[in-house]
């Protein structure tokens, strides 16, 4: 039952994070999961993001998903929303780019401009 012990550890860390967290101070990563996104590799992108968050023990990041937003040619699409910052949408993301987005944007707050397809209003 090694994996359940591991789950217990994750639970404790997350509970601690919930206690420490201030309301609304959570970063969010959204992956497009329409048929277009799935066919373009969105699931592998999400896997890479989860793996990277797990490795870095980033507990203050929500990972969520959305359907097709109409930019099918740019799929897989990934949105990064940092607290108090506008939404940044990356296009044609692959597993490798996804890991760099976590490292550069989510951790260090540096937007990787060359992959951005859209930015929210300030």
């Amino acid at each position: 039952m090694k994996s359940l012990e591991e789950l217990q550890k994750i639970k404790e860390t997350q509970l601690e994070a919930i206690r420490l967290r201030e309301a609304g101070q959570k970063a969010k990563i959204v992956v497009g999961m329409g048929t277009c996104g799935i066919a373009a590799g969105a699931r592998e992108v999400m896997s890479a993001i989860l793996d990277e968050l797990g490795k870095r023990r980033l507990t203050n990041v929500d990972v969520t998903q959305t359907g097709c937003i109409g930019l099918c040619a740019q799929e897989p699409l990934v949105d990064v929303i940092l607290p108090g910052k506008p939404r940044v949408t990356y296009g044609k993301v692959d597993a490798n780019k996804a890991r760099q987005i976590v490292a550069q944007h989510v951790v260090n707050g540096i937007v990787i401009s060359e992959w951005v397809v859209n930015r929210g209003e300030e």
Partner: protein, 184 residues
């Protein structure tokens, strides 16, 4: 789609888009009858007879962002290519049931693929959803229930990176054991 798991993810996305709160995935591999059955059942808003008839048509979609749907027709094409079929049952307000059958020994049968990543992706949402995944292969079976997991986690949500990552690895280990492997 290169994997059956990607088709399944697409079905799960349809179910979630239809407002499903409970989703049941059943995969059955019956070597004696040379039959693979994949079933996804949800309690979403369902479809009326007219919509149901159009659902396998690639040029039908309920989305407004473009004019083609393709999810179900792609799955239908894969199933047909592998000596099987996709059937749909749905009623407004009562949910939808999609059943795909394929010949287990068919040379064109795509690999099952990464079921762990598929289920983690489906659970990565803000609205809670109860998902059960039941996989039978001959005498062996694997069962995953998100409600059981939530019981273990208490107030910790499922959609945070480390939990989803755990789910992915847990399911892939369970599925690998069905095939006699030890898993990662």
């Amino acid at each position: 789609m290169e994997e059956l798991a990607l088709h399944i993810l697409d079905l799960l996305e349809n179910a979630l888009a239809a407002g499903a709160r409970q989703i049941l995935i059943t995969i059955e591999e019956d070597e004696d009858r040379d039959l693979l059955t994949i079933e996804v059942r949800d309690d979403g808003r369902g479809m009326g007879a007219e919509t149901l008839q159009k659902a396998l048509d690639p040029f039908y979609t309920t989305r407004t962002t473009r004019k083609v749907g393709l999810g179900l027709p792609l799955f239908q094409a894969t199933a047909a290519q592998c000596g099987g079929n996709v059937t749909l049952e749905s009623r407004p307000g009562q949910g939808t049931r999609v059943v795909a059958t394929m010949k287990l020994s068919h040379p064109d049968l795509p690999p099952l693929g990464d079921m762990g990543a598929t289920i983690a992706a489906a659970l990565s949402r803000e609205e809670p959803v109860e998902l059960v995944y039941h996989h039978r292969r001959g005498q062996k079976e694997f069962k995953f229930s998100s409600a059981w997991l939530q019981l273990h986690l208490g107030e910790v949500p499922l959609n945070c990176g480390p939990v989803l990552d755990w789910i992915q690895r847990y399911i892939n280990k369970g599925v690998a054991e069905l095939y006699g492997g030890e898993g990662k």
